[in-house]
Assembly symmetry: C2
């Protein structure tokens, strides 16, 4: 057996990483979870989750994370805070280098670094996230029943989700910075035919405003004219960015957007290296399937380690 600090390191402490940690710690692996910030990932900024099975009345993202963290602690999972700046996977021993220069080695690695939504970076956006500002239609759409909302973006996701959101909202206005959509023709045609969808072209959202929740947004068009629109929600659907900056993508195998490809057992192209959760190349990014993938990745890691013995 190689002489490493750990059998398994889990990189990232969102739902996928915590679930991988739960399985690995419960199965007595010598495992460490490394998290850059606080455990929880994207879920932490999620105001309310109605679709994680097992909680009939829903719960806040921070409550769910707290419960998951308590569970892994019960099984003795070691976690540590650390900003990994380098990931070396060419040898049998996987090596992570922290900002401090400290090195951590392991025989197997599960990558759960997640992804983040592209943001507009405008006043009010951060303050009102979860209070009307959303980056996920599947997650938050049902909260906007009979309300008037905005969608920002012109790609496939924005146009498809605008159509989806008309199941709930009384009116959906797509705000796009150009005068044509980038979405595929069939999605465009569906949106144009949907009477609950309106369009505002050649315009940028420059501010989100509201006391405790979103009340209105400010727009500016290409002629520099500004106007205000009343809205109780704004879905910013302008892309998702994988947290892959420190990862050797070519070796791991990634799609065009930089998400990591795996097989059904969450294994990457590199033996002993798995990926789970939002960093994976896939279409659905929800807490429940991220957690499920964490469990599968942990079991794949166990089988890998068991074969090394």
């Amino acid at each position: 057996m190689a002489n490493t600090d750990y059998q398994l390191i889990i990189l990232g402490g969102g739902p996928a990483g915590l679930t991988a940690g739960l399985y690995a710690a419960r199965d007595q692996l010598n495992v460490l979870l490394v998290e850059k910030g606080v455990v929880g990932g994207q879920v932490l900024v999620t105001d309310w989750i109605d679709n994680y099975p097992g909680f009939p009345d829903g719960l806040s993202g921070s409550e769910l994370v707290e419960k998951m963290a308590a569970q892994v602690a019960r099984f003795g999972l070691k976690t540590r805070n650390g900003n990994v700046v380098k990931v070396e996977l060419t040898e049998a021993t996987k090596k992570l280098t922290l900002e401090s220069g400290e090195e951590l080695t392991s025989q197997a690695l599960i990558i759960c670094t997640g992804a983040r939504p592209n943001k507009l970076g405008i006043p009010g956006e951060e303050k009102l996230t979860g209070k009307g500002v959303s980056y996920c239609a599947t997650c938050d759409g049902p909260f906007f029943r009979d309300q008037e909302i905005l969608v920002v973006g012109g790609g496939d996701t924005a146009v498809q989700e605008a159509d989806f959101l008309t199941k709930f909202a009384s009116k959906v206005t797509i705000v796009h910075r150009r005068d044509t959509l980038r979405a595929t023709k069939v999605l465009q045609e569906k949106a144009f035919a949907n009477k609950r969808i309106e369009f505002i072209w050649n315009s940028n959202v420059i501010a989100v405003e509201g006391e405790k929740e979103v009340e209105r947004v400010r727009l500016r068009n290409i002629d520099g004219e500004e106007k205000e629109i009343a809205a109780s929600g704004i879905f910013i659907l302008i892309g998702t960015i994988p947290n892959n900056e420190i990862l050797p993508l070519k070796q791991l195998g990634a799609d065009k957007q930089g998400f990591i490809k795996t097989d059904g057992e969450m294994r990457t192209k590199i033996p002993g290296v798995m990926a789970a959760g939002d960093i994976r190349s896939k279409t659905v990014r929800q807490v429940i399937n991220g957690a499920g993938e964490g469990a599968v990745a942990a079991i794949a890691a166990e089988h890998y380690l068991s074969d090394l013995d």
Copy 2:
């Protein structure tokens, strides 16, 4: 749009089916969940679940099902009891026929019929399931710390899991009805080298005994001699059977064991037909990844239905 009773039918009410139902009902689809018995599936007979993320102290299988059922009810999911005897998927309209002769039609179908462990069918086995009798090492292994347990079987799963179980148990005795193992050579060698594993050859377990929990098992060898062995646990690992009896396997695409193959979005070979949970061809069958697959399948169904409009 085709003239069907429902947009979507979900066949089976275990964690995968309930999660698919949660997503579909929350997203306002006209959806029905059909379950043969009571909702919950295999989980219902699970005494205690420690590895479903979000419940730090664990919970019983029936508690988890109750919570999931309350959650889908909150979003108005229609469920009905019905023994489906025929599944027709050749036309755009999917048709299910119940034992009563009644027909149910839909545009899309999610198959979550699950799987069941092969059982020995011996006295005491059913009564003591969850009280020392287990069919899943990953699920229940950690409950047997420092105890002496038995594993029944001689295939890959039995031999690999026997090795895994020595992480917890002080002694694992493999009882096999033949004098050689069917498992691959490398797994066999590992088991033979493991000092905590013992073997009893040419023997069948004929009874599991104990007042409230497993206390001992009765064995009979090929010469007809019987003996008793003290044990607090018995893992019966002699295969998993897909609940596929009513499914058109060739059309759907299945592996050699009869589990349904899907892509990463849970789509089968038949447009509009998804599969999720234990019925899928895969290696890990846990509640958390079954639920995750249910969510992915529901979103795939929505996209399929949206393209039909």
